[in-house]
């Protein structure tokens, strides 16, 4: 296994609060994303932001707001409506020295770009035995919970986690959003950066003005506990923290692991926690079957089977199409389901 508990792991005082100077401005995730882009673009003129409506409109979630005015149309490009071209053109830019940050407007619209992402961006380094590289970020809002229209609430992370050559990063709070995005931009490999739209503006946290990085490939432990481990990413981290708080009232001590990166997975942090607690519940929005949760269960099976007191439980989306707004609450994992799963695991 790789190195022990990563240095950077923040041990927050209460729940999600970051170790940002108290005087830092309080920002939403969307603002933190925008701030990361602006500060990196200022620092490195090879960075180009491109996508549908990222320029004059500032992005449909305003995550690129103001960038066009600040950096001009050669660095912030509104593109034609063609996801394949957005990524394919970014590959061309990246292999010739630019560092494109491409936006896919919603994860539900990433399919037309899958060929370019997986057959090209993710493979160029390997195909050329290191001669060429594709340092690019593919940002996109993902997940449900905001009553969006059809195809606007999908979670397809498993497709990319399964496909070698592309890193997959998912922040769960504004501090990490900025630090992880800066790491992603500075990474020499393609990074898929998934922004949980449900919490884009759901809360604010202090986010330092200056640049900082949160390393890719290291999980955080926003809550420590001894009875059971909850494993999640993105918007589900808050659900897990809520569940943990509820369970605490009944005397159950819950540890929460926020994976933050889905490829490469921080197996050490994960396994260490499960070895300690002996019980685990994985929570994700995507469909259950062959989701990233299955991989987590498989890893625990491989590395901590003898320490398990109960089967690892999965609280996930169903194996159905993501329902539209009116039924989505029935689909998405929520606090009660997580609490129930924990109880089952404890009573096994």
């Amino acid at each position: 296994m790789n190195a022990g508990r990563p240095l950077h792991t923040r041990e927050p005082e209460h729940g999600l609060h970051a170790v940002a100077p108290a005087a830092s401005p309080k920002l939403t995730i969307a603002q933190a994303v925008c701030g990361a882009l602006a500060s990196e673009m200022e620092r490195d003129e090879r960075i180009i932001v491109l996508g549908e409506d990222v320029g004059i409109n500032g992005g449909v979630f305003r995550a690129t707001d103001g960038l066009l005015a600040q950096f001009g149309p050669e660095r912030v490009m509104d593109t034609p409506l063609a996801e394949g071209a957005i990524i394919g053109v970014s590959v061309g830019l990246a292999v010739t020295g630019f560092r494109p940050v491409a936006e896919i407007q919603f994860m539900g619209f990433v399919y037309p770009a899958v060929n370019q992402i997986l057959a090209h961006a993710a493979r160029m380094r390997n195909r050329t035995r290191g001669r060429l590289q594709v340092p690019m970020v593919i940002r996109m809002p993902y997940g449900g919970g905001i009553h969006a229209p059809e195809s606007h609430s999908e979670s397809y992370e498993a497709l990319f986690v399964h496909s070698p050559g592309i890193k997959v990063v998912v922040p769960s709070n504004p501090y990490d959003a900025k630090g992880l995005l800066i790491s992603a931009i500075r990474d020499e490999d393609p990074v898929m950066f998934l922004e949980p739209k449900r919490i884009y503006r759901a809360f604010r946290e202090p986010v330092p003005d200056e640049s900082y990085t949160v390393p890719i490939g290291t999980a955080a432990v926003p809550r420590t506990g001894g009875d059971v481990t909850l494993i999640a990413w993105g918007a589900m981290v808050r659900i897990c923290l809520d569940a943990a708080a509820a369970l605490e009232k009944d005397g159950v001590s819950v540890e929460v692991v926020d994976l933050r990166t889905l490829n490469p997975l921080d197996r050490d942090t994960l396994i260490e926690s499960v070895v300690k607690t002996g019980r685990a519940v994985v929570v994700h929005e995507a469909p259950r079957t062959a989701g990233v949760g299955a991989e987590i269960v498989a890893l625990i099976n491989e590395h901590a089977l003898l320490q398990l007191e109960a089967p690892v439980s999965r609280v996930t989306g169903f194996d159905t199409v993501m329902p539209y707004a009116r039924l989505e609450e029935h689909y998405l994992p929520n606090r009660d389901r997580v609490v129930a799963a924990v109880r089952n695991v404890l009573e096994f």
Partner: protein, 357 residues
């Protein structure tokens, strides 16, 4: 053996009823007075239906709404050119045409309110559900056009896209496929000048969208999309060509999205008030009313009555929408497959147990 011209193309634009009410009487299609009045009525109903949806959204009764305002002439004109056996494969801004093809208004509202039942159309309505992934419906239009050809049906498939949709690979693949197989397909591009914040002229460098047809060896025509007679004439031509085995065609209908992209959008961020005013003066509905009035077929009183009738009709759709019982959460599972597989049945059980509790 030098440089020789081996191919030429010419793209036409068709206009019949000008913005100021000028009429090209030679090109004017033969339509009886009642039909022209019906066109106007259809357009007013669409506008009323659309306006109401925006209100419902503002009241929190609907998730998001994609406004059709300004694009009524295209939808009324195409509808008039269609026969019962024709298929409609919409994008997501064809509510007006869907209504005219028999999709109940309350279902359209339900869909946009986030209820899947809104895309379960009554038996016999030859209309696909709307397609959210831009451009993806166009190959279905090619496929249904092929289906009609293979069966020898006297019918055509009409499929819609926006100016933005022409940039997607699907547009290309669909038109190319249709050209190769001579499918019974009519492709209509509602060029409303914007794809969210992207102006038409930055979507593609070609001066017209109609000329893209030539890349597939099929006819392309531009029409004034705010001129219902031009749209109707172009559609009749394209539908008859398709139904009689003459192959697919492309119509670029030039119009303007008078509203925001959707209720989640704020168009003032990216376009000017002058541009909006320019196009408001070209609004297809007053244009047709002026024409009717000019011909003595319409007066203020009739207009008032029509508008009241439209409001009543829309209210009835709202009532029907409001009257829909909440969908059963179990529906999430029931339509995934012809038969629910065991593991899915188990998940359904979990949900049912939870809902009961």
């Amino acid at each position: 053996m030098p440089r020789t011209i081996i191919h030429e193309c010419a793209v036409e634009r068709l206009e019949i009823l000008g913005p100021e009410g000028q009429l090209d009487t030679e090109l004017m299609p033969e339509l009886d007075d009642e039909t022209v009045r019906a066109l106007y009525r259809d357009m007013v109903r669409m506008r009323t239906f659309d306006d109401k949806a925006v209100k419902l959204q503002r009241q929190g009764r609907m998730g998001t709404w994609a406004q059709l305002k300004g694009q009524e002439a295209i939808q009324a004109g195409v509808a008039l050119a269609m026969i019962e056996s024709d298929w409609l494969i919409p994008a997501f801004r064809e509510h007006g045409l869907m209504l005219l093809r028999g999709v109940p208004g309350h279902l359209i509202y339900a869909y946009w309110a986030g209820d899947e039942r809104g895309a379960s159309f009554p038996e016999g309505v030859r209309c696909l559900p709307i397609a959210v992934p831009v451009g993806s419906q166009l190959t279905h239009g090619a496929g249904i056009g092929l289906s009609l050809k293979l069966r020898g049906e006297h019918a055509a498939a009409v499929t819609f896209g926006g100016d933005g949709a022409t940039s997607e690979g699907d547009f290309h693949e669909a038109l190319n496929f249709a050209g190769v197989f001579g499918t019974k397909t009519v492709f209509v591009i509602q060029n409303n000048q914007w794809a969210i914040s992207m102006p038409r002229k930055r979507q593609t460098s070609s001066p017209t969208l109609a000329q893209k047809a030539d890349a597939y060896g099929i006819p392309g025509l531009q029409v004034d999309g705010n001129d219902v007679f031009a749209v109707y004439t172009a559609a009749v031509e394209a539908f008859e060509r398709a139904r009689s085995g003459g192959g697919p065609s492309l119509i670029e209908a030039v119009t303007y999205r008078l509203g925001d992209h959707t209720t989640a959008d704020d168009a003032t961020r990216y376009r000017t008030g002058e541009e909006l005013e320019y196009w408001q003066r070209r609004d297809p509905i007053p244009r047709l009313r002026r024409h009717l009035e000019g011909r003595g077929l319409w007066d203020a009183e009739q207009d008032q009555a029509l508008k009241e009738e439209a409001v009543r009709w829309v209210a009835s759709q709202v009532d029907a929408f409001n009257a829909m019982p909440m969908a059963d959460p179990g529906d999430i599972f029931r339509f995934m497959y012809h038969e629910v597989p065991p593991a899915l049945a188990e998940q359904l059980e979990w949900l049912e147990r939870e809902v009961r509790a």
